[in-house]
Symmetry: C2
Subunit: 425 residues, 2 copies
């Protein structure tokens, strides 16, 4: 039944059925979590041998470096090399850090805020700092801007990346616009990959702010779900042509390769930005955990090793994505209750509910024991003007639990949409 064209009596009857379904869901007493993109236990089990890849005193030397001791602000050379292979940048453009790219991004933003870019003054001294936020996007990105009191400007995501005409206009005209968040490959939450054209426009565009920065969060760079990999243009290669290398700070991590809480994060940046980072960071830190970096290097060895490992992740994740997508299709297809994108990688399924329904769906799911990411979380200030987008994170629950959760979700989405339509009849 297409809810948008159904009659009032049809909707009323359907609502009664859905309420029964919903009560049945509740009666199961579920306690399921689809809120965050956490790897499952089975995924975390994959790299057990890494834990003992560096386990004896004789194994502690990497070149001239005793990885146990102080030093090496930019990270272990061997680990920088590994990330350089993945990011396709020169090794000395890479800093290998601690366990979280989020922290590297936050710290980079704070350096810009407190000390300023090499070519500008501290952003905290600007009357106003504005930041472009492709939507739907990642709540933890937005939280950084919000904490610093920046004005976030939402930019709609199109099929091949952010609306670049809008980005070019905002960045080109207003010097208060200092930068943008990007998850350019298998984006969070939609799983979209920026087109070559989009990447080129990012480095080609004129910016009113000379110290404009693109935070290029390449979180899902090797996180394919299928053998059909979406390709992302190398942003630094593209930037070279326009001399815009200093505009980009790229981030990635092994959080969803090795361990979510105990991986290694990295930043890639131009020599000018690396020098600037090291100068300021040299007061904050002596060096990252090089033992853990060496563990990663000894276990994964190289890019091929990581790619082989990611196939094991895909084998665990793909059935979960398929199952959720298939339930969405079978329950919601043709109803008008929502639409979704079928991602070829990343960690999420982005669901666009019938406008005005997202908060209601979230509340219904919660009542039935299924925790979703909050409605609105994919928008700056938690404010989704259409109250429509919800992020589904299928990775954590075992398949059977996920199936129950997805069914609950479908019931709630239908119920919310039916209620919404009834308001208009």
């Amino acid at each position: 039944m297409n809810l948008t064209t159904a009659s009032r009596s049809e909707l009323e009857a359907f609502r009664q059925k859905l309420l029964k379904d919903f009560e049945a869901c509740k009666a199961k007493g579920l306690k399921l979590d689809m809120s965050r993109g956490k790897p499952s236990k089975a995924q975390l089990d994959l790299c057990e041998p890494m834990l003992t890849a560096v386990s004896r005193n004789e194994e502690m030397q990497a070149g001239k470096t005793d990885v146990r001791n102080y030093g090496g602000l930019e990270g272990l050379a061997e680990c920088r090399k590994l990330f350089a292979e993945i990011l396709e940048v020169p090794e000395d453009w890479v800093m290998a850090g601690g366990n979280a790219s989020l922290t590297m991004m936050y710290d980079a933003m704070l350096r810009l805020w407190v000390f300023g870019a090499p070519e500008g003054k501290p952003w905290s001294q600007e009357a106003k700092v504005k930041w472009l936020c492709p939507v739907p996007g990642y709540d933890r990105h937005f939280a950084i801007c919000q904490q610093l009191g920046m004005e976030m400007i939402p930019v709609p995501m199109l099929e091949d990346g952010p609306d670049m005409a809008l980005v070019e206009k905002l960045a080109g005209e207003d010097p208060a616009v200092k930068g943008i968040w990007c998850v350019p490959k298998y984006s969070n939450p939609e799983g979209k990959t920026y087109s070559d054209q989009t990447v080129r426009r990012f480095v080609k565009m004129k910016t009113a702010a000379p110290d404009f920065r693109i935070f290029w969060d390449n979180a899902y760079i090797v996180h394919h779900l299928t053998d059909e990999h979406e390709e992302l243009l190398n942003v630094f290669e593209a930037a070279k042509e326009y001399g815009a290398e200093d505009r980009v700070l790229e981030f990635c991590s092994t959080s969803k390769i090795s361990y979510a809480g105990a991986g290694v994060a990295a930043m890639a940046a131009s020599p000018a930005n690396i020098a600037w980072t090291k100068k300021i960071m040299g007061v904050q830190a002596i060096g990252p955990d090089k033992i853990n970096q060496l563990r990663h290097v000894r276990y994964f060895k190289d890019r091929a090793g990581i790619e082989a490992h990611m196939k094991k992740h895909a084998a665990l994740l793909k059935p979960k994505f398929d199952m959720v997508l298939s339930l969405l299709e079978s329950n919601l297809g043709g109803t008008g209750a929502g639409s979704w994108h079928t991602p070829k990688g990343g960690y999420f399924i982005s669901f666009d509910a019938m406008p005005g329904c997202a908060k209601r769906i979230h509340a219904l799911c919660k009542e039935a024991g299924v925790v979703m990411t909050s409605a609105g979380a994919t928008y700056p200030y938690g404010d989704d003007p259409k109250d429509s987008n919800l992020r589904i994170a299928p990775s954590l629950p075992p398949v059977e639990e996920l199936k129950e959760a997805a069914q609950v979700f479908c019931t709630c989405a239908l119920l919310a949409a039916t209620e919404k339509q009834l308001e208009t009849r």
Copy 2:
């Protein structure tokens, strides 16, 4: 020979002898490093079994926490407990973090700078921020203040801690004075421990700034060199009496217990400060490396385990300290070329050269292939007004190398003092 009373001809003759000694030193082509408090290879070798203390998938659960996954901003409960035992504070006063207390201190300072303490406004918005720096002190502490443009005010170290009369006056009268660095036990570089009286005065004193903060860097809390442990009054216990718990942020780490670059750091603070820290840090991080925290807990188990381990460190360090101290005594005793403190713990020997000689000694040592911490490094802005203090770090070199380095140091100290005296004759 006492250089301060020797005649010009005696000095001249001695100088000739020293120059020959110095040339002999140089001829050895040494390349020795006494610059930083790095543990030696033998020390790093001590906790090899820790590397495999968490090595199988079945070992990844700590209570309800899978230590491999995201989460736990405040650190693993078991690890907080371990630090709580060492710091003698309640477990929920502890945050267990990454691999560096320096980073925890820097980040805490930046939170105060950018966001302000719970009871005040951001320090960056103050017309002027001043900070008290006990001297001689730790260069990395001073670097944080300098990077933020604070005005550092040196406070002389007395035998039982900083000159508290001066601290009380400066903190009590000037609201721009926002805090002080303290290394209260086996201080860096002098190895002095604050008396109970000093600790009490810190928490009892009136401060003109309501958001005054003591950065209590308890870096050497269990780092005894002998069985005769110096005792430090628990600063939070003392603070309780005066309701001054919010004034103190305490830091420590296992950098010189387990691994210098791959240990675990911790902060202890009042519930108000912990809540404030978590609120701001929740945007910067999801959680620390809990696998490494669990490794530490499984290996050391408890405070007794750590104390037993520290005896092994002492057994390696004590002979090095003894050797340097004995060479200082035999070469420099009674000459007036310098004085030093005999520490019962910590990582350094602080050497007060004849005024005006520290830079010259540093340069001479360098010429002879021995790298020392820069002269002046123990003072804010690298400015030791007497050009006197040098920090000797005996931990890293093997004993035989250290002996050579210490002998070079003594020759250089004598040569510099002799030259200095000749200027006055």
